[in-house]
Every structure is written in structure tokens, then in C-alpha cells.
Amino acid sequence: MGNDLLPGTLDMLVLGSLTRGPRHGYGIAQHLKKISEDVLDVGESSLYPALQRLLLNGWVTAEWGASENNRRARYYKLTASGRKQLAAENREFDRMILAIQKVMSCA
């Protein structure tokens, strides 16, 4: 579940899942689950608030469109400032992982 992630990580993962193009909420959840080989199973109680946060910050925009099975679905698209934010979070995340690895290797 997303709740166990480091704070702010879910927002980064959602942003990351949108780099290849717009996805709807269900699509994002599926994508995260598939890529992480079922480790990250994000429920709507964390996914939708996270999407609202991204909207509020202007990192994504939402637009209604047709889904694969021709149903109405809301697609989220990365904005320019969203891309910038993702890059910044990526760097920060790498730094953090490196730091954690260093500490753990000394433990």
C-alpha cells in the first residue's frame, strides 16, 4: 500500500508514471502495480488525494477522454512544471537512497 511509502514518494511515483503520456487514475494504479511487480498496490484512498495535490500544485492537468474500452475516463497529463518537479524529486530520491545505502552498509 502507498501509505507505507516514504512521505511524498507516492506523489513522485504518480508523476513518474505519467512521463510516457497521459493516464487515467485506474491506469496509473495498474501501471505502478505492474512495474513494481505487485509490490506497490495503490488504493483510491491514497491515489485520489495524491492526484488532487498534484492538480493543486499545477504539476498535472486533468482532461476527460475515452478509455481503451470506450468509457469516459479522466486523463492526467504532466505539465512543464510537473516535469521539473519530477526531475528535482528524482535527484533528491537518488541522494536519499545513496545516503541510506551508505548507512546500511556500515551497520
Binding site: 484512498s45 485520489y48 488525494p49 493543486l56 499545477g58
Partner: protein, 877 residues
């Protein structure tokens, strides 16, 4: 950006919620499809209503849904402790009510002073200026016409000159105020008569050419009983029959701060009311008071630039009359020729002081809330323990603050509503005409009061909210015992800070009130240069009764003989103007042999026209020469008496008696030097001034001065009999002593002192209550410590000293802070101070003593209670 997005979300809440529901529904159906069964899908999704709330909360972190619940809890809390609630609401009512009242005064007197007049934000006052002289002058009619022709940034010039007449109602003569106005007046201010018409173009030209008048609604009701056929009737004003052409709408009072107008006449009738020669073609007669209405979007500075350019052109075109003359625009609230100017500093200071009172009141209520939040610590802790977020707690506390503020704001606005016309009560009627100083509670006042309410809500809600940060769940739940020493430390610091703030603010108010009181005292004790005791003053308005000049002079001489024959009258004399009255003096360009003025200046000096025996009657000493006699009449050689300041300035200290003085182009012989006295205001600096004999300046005196030792009432009734005997239709005005006249002229000071005294007292009272509450609370909280100390042998006096010293330390800190603030800020009292330094040590010392006594009293009761602690009981509990 985030704020804008938040707002967009807020306005499309319904649609946003529907969209969110739809997309979550889609999500759920996809999951169902994937797993093939609804149960798994639901389990995986979790509670979707919670998710929706969480998603909504991202945008709008305030829990609106729970607001109603908070309101109910808050109201229940208030009902449960009525003592607290009443005290808190009372404190806040005082704070908010005082603010709203002063807002309504400022709005009604300074910013929107003229009921029914449209677009007052584009009105500005205009006056003339004279190079090398401070202050302002009137404007001449020809200059005004030239300004009107050449100023492109101004919509209209609105002439409005206050004057008066006497209307008799039965056997009582009543002073009635009116305005001499330009013909465009009613159109330009956007006020339309309810009956008849306003003035027509051209009615403001020609000498006495258009005897027409528009009367006020009030006059229409009182004299004409609201008769619809009033228009077209005749009304005698100053001896001339005027046709009533219109009736102004109800509530329209004209355009003069302080007094309501009862009738209006066009400028062509000016001579009838002001006397003297025809002025509409005289460029040197600067008699007009006027406003301009700026075109939309034009700033005062732009208009001023254009105005000054036109004035410079007039200077070159008409050097004889306009050399050194300029034009100046004033924002409406600084209008120099009505009471706006005198009230401005008073209202400014009031505004500062009511803000102090509000802050002190908020600090008091904040303190009360802190005490309660301490008592509710357990409740808060339990709430946190069962899962309330800190945000929810803060919201609950702010809601409670809001309930208090809204209740207080409502009652505060009621207070303001009752007090909105109260300012006028502090001003005495002058010359029998009561002032009108209406407050105005409009949307701007309401909005400001709402702002004050919001401010106090946040202050009140956030103070206890600060405490929720310190809630230590485990610790607090474990023990019921309030940790006085450790836990309460932060809070007692906050409470102490509030008390220090209160003490400093009320000290500041005390110093302000003290300084104004000292000024008033100095003004009261000031020697105006004439006798204030034993001299009575009154007036008979002959022009208003339609007397021609010769008839008026004859009447006055007869009346004077009769008055002098009255028992108890030592001497009596007429003058055109009484010192320190509202009426303005005449002024004239002067020339003196051997005195060379600077090249671009025209020396102009004010003068009064006085009758024989004036100086001995009013008690102005003559330094040399003689005073006017009956022999100084129309046929005698022209003479003048100058004051010593003028002698020094123009004759460089030589005795001017026997020398020449040119007044209005005519040479006169100086026959005496009078000692300088106060002419227009007690606060004016000694200035050059001269006197002409009444009979040599073709004017009839209106002000009658009488020297007597008899009481005012005796003289008043005797005088009324004499006037009545001469003309049954006439009655004199109110008879007053010159002391009374002087007191009336200092009413702005007295009003400032009264108001600041009231508010200063209020501030002191609130601060004392605050100090008392803090000390009582401190004592009740440390009863265990006090008991221990007693058990260990501390005497009552030790405890008394300990508690007192704590309270007095707070007081000392507050006084120090307040004194530092006062040293920096009292100079802002500026004009209201008279011969008192803004850092007057005596005032600071007095404020210190008063504050210390109040603080000692506030601390003593709790301290005394501390000494009554029963150690045995405390230690047993």
C-alpha cells in the same frame, strides 16, 4: 497560483465532486472487471467516501461539514460558563463598538460628509494662497470664472459660502444658516429638489439680480407646514423678498461640515447677505469657498498642477490683484474652511486610541480563553487521543473565538448605531445654532467592523490554539494534576506578555490624555489679551432684519445710549466682529511710508471695525495714543489704531502714532497702538492687526460688548426689553461672557480631552482587570507552592511581597515599554498640544503614578488572598 486554483475549485465544488465520484466509480468498475467479483474490488478500494473527503480536503483544508457541530459545541461552552462569556463579550463589545463608532464618525464627517451628494470621492476643496503667508484665502469670483474656463481636468466648480440670516418664528428671532452658491450647485452635486427647481444658468450674475431661493426640507416643514404650493411664494431674507423656487430633499444639509443649511441663494445675492460692495466683478475680493469635482480618473496632483499653471497665468495677466497669489486643492477630509479641519486631528487620535482599546480588550479575552483552555486541557487531550487532528482542535477553538466576536460585533454595531450622532453632544451650540455632526454607518464602516471582528476572531482563536501544540498525550492522560511548574511555564509567559502589552498600551493612552489635559489647562489659563471676566457679548442682526446701513447705524447709536443708561453697565461698544468668534475679519492690502515689501509680495493685514470706547470696554490696553471717539466719524480725517506687533514689523519699533498707514488705497493717520491680543483663535501666534472706526468703514457693528458686574441673565433680559422697545420685530442673540466665548472657541481641545479621557479610562480599567485576572490565576495555580512555603516558615508578609513583586514586575515592564512608545509617538498629537512638550515629564510622571496605583490595587487582592492560604489544608489535599 495555488490560491487561484483553490478559488477556482471552491467555485466549482459541485462539479468537481461529481467528477471525482465519476472517476472513482470508473476505477471501481475496472477493478471489478479485472477481478471478476465485487467484494474483492470493494476491499481493495477501501472506504471511498473517506477517500473523497481526503481528496476534497487537499483543496479545502477546513472541515466545513463539521463547522455546524463546532458551532453547537462552542455555544454550549459559552452557556456552561456564563460569567466568562458575559465578561468576554462585554470586553469585546467595548473594543469593537468603540472602533465602529469612530469609523462611523470618520466616514460621516471626513470622507462622506454630505448626505445625498453623489460621487464624493471626486470632490476636493479649493482655496487661494498668498506667497509668504501660511494658511489659505478665499477665491474671487472673476478668478473662479477664469479657472472654470481654463481647467480641463475638472468637471465643475461648486461655490458654497456659508452665511446666515435671522428668521422670526412668532416673537422669537432665530439664527438660520444658508449658503451663497453658484448657479450650477444642485446639478453639480447631483441633488435634485423634490419640489420646483434648482438654480438656472445665469442666476449667479448681476448685482442683486436674481432674488430666488431654494429652501431645506426642514424649513419647508417647520415654516410652511409642508405645503405643496410653497414654490412660488415669497420669503423675506435680509430685507429682500426672495421667490422660493425649490425645496431640497429630506436629509440634504448642504455642503458644510458641522452645520446644516436651511436655504440657498445664487451668488448674485451675495451683497444682501455679506454686505459691502458688489463683489462679482472685483478680482481682489476673495470671499468664495469652493469645491471642485474632478473628472473620473484624474488625481488631485494632476488637477493641482493644472490649477497652479492657470494661477501663474492670472498672476501675469492681473499683477495688481493677483501678484503672489496661488490656488490649492485639498482632499475633502482636509477641507480648511469648515469643521473638517478642526476635527481631523481629534478623530485621528481617537482612531489610534480605539485600536489600543480593542487590542487591550482582545488581550483580556485572550487571557480569559487561555485560563479556560488550561481548564479544558483534559478535554483537548482526550479529543487528540480519540483521533482528532490538531487542525480540528484549532478549528474548534477558532469557531469559539468567532462566536464571541460575532456576538460582540453585533452588540458593538448597536453601540455604534446609538453613538453615531453623539459627537455633536460634546460641542456647544454657537450663536444659537446647533451643530450637526452625523456619523454614517454604510457598507464601508460595516466592512471595516467586520475586518476588526475577523482580526479579533483570529487573535482569540489562535492564542489558545498555540497551546494545543504542547499537548503531550501520554503525560497528560496519566496525571490529572496540573503541572504548574513545568507545563504551565510557556502559557504563563504568554499570559505575562499579554499583560505587559495591556499595561503599555494603557500607559500610552494615559500619557496622551494627560498631555491633552495639560494643553487644555494652559489654553484655559491663557491671557487672550482682553478681559474675559465682567465683559458680556451679544449681537443684533440688523442686516438680517433688512435694515439699510444708515438705519442700522442710527439704530445702534440709539441702542447704545439705552444700554449705557442701564443700571450696572460700566461701558458698552459695538464692533463688527467679536474676538474668537467664527466670523472672519476683513483684510486689506497696506502700505507704510518707508517700508519696502519683498518684490513679489503684497502685505495684507486683517482688521476689525470698532466703535468708540471699544478698547476700554473689552479691556485691551492702549500702549500709546488715544482710542476712537464719537468724533471719528464719516466727516472727520481717517484714522486707525494698530497693534504693537504691526508697529514693530512695519515701523521697526518706532512709535507709529502720528504716522501714515494706507488701507484700501486710502491714507490714514495712526492715532494709537493697542497691545496684541487673540483675534481668531487662542492658539494663534501674535500677528499684525489694526482697527478702523466703525463709522469710517461704512459698516454697522453687529457685536455688542458690555462691561458689567451684574449677572448675565439680568443684562440679557434688560437688553431684550431695550431692543424690543426700539423695534418690536427684533431680538438680540444669546448674551454670553467673553470667557464663554473663549471656551467655545477651544471646544475641539475640550472634545479631544473628553473623548481621550473616556477612552483612556476605559483602557486603564481593562488593563487593570487583565492584571487582576492574571495575578488571581497565578495565585490559585500556585497554592500548593504557597502552602509549602508557609509550612516551611514563610510569613504572610513574605508571601505578600512575593506575589506583589511578580505583578509589579509585569507592570514595570509594561510601563517601560509604554513610556518608550510614548516618547516616540506623542509628538503625533501635534496641533492639539499647546505649549506642552510631547515629552512633558510631569505628564509622564502622573501617568506613572496612576498606572502604579491601579496595578498595585489589582495585585493586592490576589496577594492578600495568597496570605490566607491554609498550609494544612493544601498539603493534605
Amino acid at each position: 497560483m495555488r490560491l487561484i486554483r483553490r478559488l477556482l475549485y471552491f467555485f466549482r465544488q459541485g462539479r468537481q465532486a461529481a467528477e471525482l465520484a465519476e472517476e472513482m466509480d470508473f476505477h471501481r468498475q475496472m477493478l471489478e472487471q479485472e477481478s471478476g467479483d465485487r467484494y474483492t474490488a470493494n476491499r481493495k478500494m477501501g472506504a471511498s467516501s473517506l477517500a473523497r473527503e481526503d481528496a476534497h480536503a487537499v483543496w479545502f483544508p477546513i472541515h466545513l461539514d463539521s463547522l455546524w457541530q463546532d458551532l453547537r459545541v462552542g455555544l454550549r461552552m459559552l452557556r456552561r460558563s456564563p460569567g466568562f462569556s458575559i465578561l468576554a463579550i462585554l470586553c469585546l463589545t467595548l473594543g469593537i463598538g468603540a472602533n465602529a463608532t469612530v469609523f462611523s464618525w470618520i466616514e460621516g464627517i471626513l470622507f462622506r460628509p454630505y448626505p445625498l451628494v453623489t460621487h464624493q470621492e471626486r470632490l476636493a476643496a479649493i482655496t487661494g494662497t498668498a506667497r509668504g503667508e501660511a494658511g489659505h484665502t478665499g477665491i474671487s469670483w472673476p478668478d473662479l470664472l477664469d479657472l472654470q474656463k481654463n481647467c480641463t481636468l475638472v468637471d465643475s466648480f461648486i461655490v458654497t459660502k456659508i452665511m446666515g440670516t435671522t428668521l422670526s418664528l412668532g416673537d422669537r428671532a432665530e439664527r438660520t444658516l444658508g449658503s451663497i452658491v453658484s448657479a450650477n450647485y444642485f446639478d453639480a452635486i447631483g441633488v435634485h429638489p423634490i419640489l420646483g427647481r434648482g438654480f438656472e444658468p445665469g442666476e449667479d450674475a448681476g448685482s442683486k439680480a436674481h432674488p430666488v431661493t431654494v429652501i431645506s426640507y426642514q424649513l419647508w416643514q417647520s415654516r410652511f407646514k409642508g405645503d405643496p404650493a410653497t414654490v412660488g411664494k415669497m420669503q423675506r431674507l435680509n430685507g429682500i423678498e426672495h421667490t422660493i423656487v425649490g425645496v431640497a430633499p429630506e436629509g440634504f444639509l448642504g455642503t458644510f461640515v458641522g452645520w446644516g443649511m436651511q436655504f440657498w441663494v445664487p451668488a448674485s445675492m451675495e451683497e444682501t447677505f455679506e454686505g459691502g460692495p458688489y463683489k462679482l466683478e472685483d478680482r481682489s475680493a476673495r470671499w468664495i469657498e469652493a469645491y471642485v469635482r474632478l473628472k473620473p480618473g484624474v488625481t488631485l496632483e494632476q488637477a493641482q498642477q493644472e490649477m497652479s499653471a492657470v494661477a501663474r497665468r492670472l498672476e501675469t495677466d492681473f499683477p495688481a490683484t493677483n501678484r503672489g497669489r496661488g490656488m490649492k486643492l485639498w482632499p475633502l477630509w482636509q477641507t480648511p474652511f469648515n469643521n473638517a479641519g478642526t476635527l481631523l486631528p481629534t478623530l485621528g487620535i481617537m482612531l489610534a486610541v480605539v485600536v489600543f482599546v480593542l487590542l487591550i480588550a482582545c488581550a483580556n479575552v485572550g487571557n480569559l480563553l487561555l485560563v479556560r483552555s488550561f481548564a479544558r486541557r483534559h478535554e483537548m487531550t482526550v479529543r487528540v487521543a480519540v483521533g482528532a487532528g490538531r487542525g480540528r482542535l484549532v478549528q474548534q477553538l477558532i469557531t469559539e473565538g468567532m462566536i464571541l466576536s460575532i456576538l460582540a460585533a453585533t452588540s458593538g454595531l448597536l453601540v455604534a448605531h446609538w453613538c453615531r450622532h453623539a459627537l455633536v453632544l460634546l460641542f456647544p451650540a454657537r450663536g444659537g445654532v446647533a451643530m450637526t455632526l452625523p456619523g454614517e454607518i454604510d457598507w464601508r464602516v460595516l466592512a471595516l467592523s467586520a475586518g476588526v471582528c475577523l482580526f479579533s476572531t483570529l487573535l482569540l482563536g489562535l492564542l489558545p490554539a498555540l497551546q494545543t501544540r504542547k499537548i503531550d498525550l501520554a503525560g497528560a492522560l496519566k496525571s490529572e494534576m496540573s503541572g504548574v511548574v513545568g507545563g504551565a511555564h510557556g502559557k504563563s509567559l504568554l499570559r505575562s506578555t499579554l499583560v505587559v502589552l495591556q499595561v503599555s498600551l494603557s500607559f500610552l493612552s494615559l500619557v496622551g490624555a494627560g498631555l491633552l489635559m495639560q494643553s487644555l489647562q494652559r489654553i484655559r489659563n491663557l491671557n487672550p489679551g482682553f478681559s474675559t471676566k465682567g465683559v458680556l457679548e451679544t449681537a443684533v442682526d440688523l442686516r438680517g432684519a433688512g435694515y439699510e446701513l444708515q438705519r442700522a447705524i442710527h439704530f445702534n447709536e440709539e441702542l447704545l445710549d439705552r444700554v449705557k443708561a442701564l443700571p450696572g453697565i460700566e461701558s458698552a461698544a459695538f464692533a463688527r466682529n467679536t474676538p474668537l468668534s467664527y466670523g472672519s475679519y476683513s483684510s486689506s492690502p497696506i502700505a507704510v511710508d518707508g517700508y519696502q515689501p519683498p518684490p513679489d509680495e503684497q502685505p495684507t493685514v486683517e482688521y476689525n471695525q470698532v466703535g468708540p470706547g471699544y478698547f476700554s470696554t473689552i479691556g485691551i490696553p492702549l500702549l500709546s495714543g488715544r482710542e476712537f471717539t464719537r468724533a471719528d466719524n464719516e466727516t472727520a480725517p481717517p484714522v486707525a489704531i494698530v497693534n504693537d506687533v504691526m508697529a514693530t514689523q512695519y515701523w521697526r519699533g518706532e512709535d507709529p502714532v502720528g504716522k501714515r498707514l494706507q488701507v484700501k488705497g486710502q491714507w490714514r493717520q495712526v492715532i494709537g497702538v493697542a497691545k496684541v491680543s487673540k483675534y481668531q483663535s487662542v492658539r494663534e501666534n501674535p500677528k499684525p492687526f489694526f482697527y478702523l472706526p466703525l463709522r469710517q468703514d461704512s459698516t454697522a457693528g453687529t457685536a455688542l460688548n458690555m462691561r458689567t458686574h451684574l449677572p448675565t441673565e439680568t443684562i440679557a433680559s434688560a437688553l431684550a426689553r431695550e431692543v424690543h422697545a426700539l423695534d418690536a420685530n427684533l431680538a438680540p442673540y444669546e448674551v454670553i461672557t467673553l470667557q464663554e466665548q473663549m471656551d467655545r472657541s477651544t471646544s475641539p481641545q475640550r472634545v479631544a480631552v473628553t473623548l481621550l479621557g473616556i477612552l483612556g479610562g476605559l483602557a486603564l480599567l481593562l488593563a487593570t482587570i487583565g492584571l487582576y485576572a492574571v495575578m488571581s490565576y497565578a495565585v490559585s495555580q500556585s497554592s500548593r507552592e504557597l502552602g509549602l512555603r508557609m509550612a516551611l516558615g514563610a510569613g504572610a508578609s513574605d508571601l505578600l511581597r512575593q506575589v506583589m513583586s511578580r505583578g509589579l514586575t509585569l507592570t514595570a515592564a509594561g510601563i517601560t515599554l509604554g513610556a518608550a512608545a510614548a516618547l516616540e509617538s506623542t509628538r503625533l498629537l501635534g496641533n492639539l498640544l499647546y505649549k506642552v512638550s510631547p515629552r512633558d515629564p510631569l505628564t509622564f510622571a502622573s501617568a506613572f503614578v496612576v498606572m502604579t496605583i491601579a496595578a498595585t490595587a489589582a495585585c493586592f487582592l490576589p496577594a492578600w488572598r495568597a496570605t490566607r492560604t491554609d498550609p494544612a489544608r493544601i498539603l493534605r489535599d
